[in-house]
């Protein structure tokens, strides 16, 4: 599955590289719009997982593309796809933004987290129950921005942890540990709500 993902991404990357070459070598600035069209929605969704205010989401998403355009000569296809590089830029912009925005995130009881069985927490996302899904969405929205982004990228955009690790400048093992802890938080929130707490 991961090989198929990488193959699809490689094919996409070649077309991205052709566009980038035209922008850089031939000065075809308008061609950059093709990349914005291609990745705009996904990048917008990526930023939206980390930023609550809609106006700020728009601005940060735009900032990401503008910065990518100005630094386009620095993009190195050998290090990853254009979309991965784009997300790196967006991630850093969002982190800077988050530092300036004080918000309250999901409260967690550490003792309770440790007491949650791993197999129960790991299956928290595997549900089709509408009520539980609503609670899950609530809980996801109350996660810290970086954790919310991790959930969105891994579960909804189905990005391999190795790719997310490049975006966040960490390693896949650390992300796997974080996801495990996030699942426990979500599970804890759901159980508390279902039991009226």
């Amino acid at each position: 599955m991961i090989d198929a993902y990488i193959l699809v991404m490689k094919q996409q990357d070649e077309k991205d590289q052709q566009i980038i070459d035209r922008v850089l070598r031939d000065g075809q600035q308008a061609d950059f719009a093709l990349l914005v069209d291609r990745y705009g929605a996904r990048l917008f969704a990526f930023v939206a997982t980390m930023v609550s205010c809609r106006e700020d989401v728009e601005e940060l998403a735009q900032d990401s593309f503008v910065k990518a355009y100005r630094q386009l000569a620095q993009y190195d296809a050998r290090r990853g796809s254009f979309y991965t590089w784009l997300r790196c830029i967006a991630y850093r912009l969002c982190l800077n933004y988050i530092k300036r925005q004080p918000e309250v995130w999901l409260e967690t009881d550490e003792q309770m987290l440790n007491a949650i069985p791993d197999d129960e927490a790991d299956s928290v996302m595997d549900t089709n129950d509408d009520r539980r899904i609503s609670l899950l969405i609530e809980a996801i929205h109350r996660l810290p921005p970086t954790e919310r982004m991790l959930v969105q990228q891994h579960y909804f955009e189905q990005q391999p942890l190795a790719v997310i690790a490049v975006v966040t400048d960490t390693d896949a093992g650390t992300l796997a540990t974080r996801l495990h802890r996030i699942r426990k938080k979500l599970y804890q929130y759901i159980i508390q709500k279902e039991h009226g707490r």
Partner: protein, 197 residues
Amino acid sequence: MEDKKYSKLKAYFEATQPQMPTDFTDRVMERIKPRRRLAWLYPTIAAVAASALLFLTLHYNNSNVEPAVSPMVAQQQDSIAKVEDKMYIAHHVQSVQSPNTHRTKTVYKPKKASVKRLASPETPDTLGEGIWKQKENVVLALQMLAECEAAGEQIQRNTIVEAAFQSTLKPHHLQLVVSESGDYTVVDDSKPSIIEL
């Protein structure tokens, strides 16, 4: 790829997220464009920057200035070449033995065939040669040109060079020409043999 396992959860989550505006690409491209509100500034800076360079190029050798293209003394070639290399003014430097003196002169020739003449009736008026006497203006203009080139803003960079050339006092038979690759050169109309076509 588990594309269906979390599809319902994903749909619920995405329903709670803000949607990208339909004109997102237009907004990004608008920000990438060179800023029109500085259009009044660039020609002025253009006049300062390019005229300073042309002033140095044309008037450095104060004795026996022949109507050939930009004659320079050989020992000044390094410093001028650095500036001109930065400014993309000329790329071919050839040492020519002047028939009238025993000095080695540097003649600048267009880079390739099919050079085109500049016809820039829209080139704005400039402040005249006197502006070059102010060192800070020259420094500022050079900074502007460097920024244009770093940002890949070819159009603005060309505007700077062309407008400044028009503002300088120069023999009428000297013309500024640009090759297909965007390199500028001063050529002498009175001696077509110098131009390689």
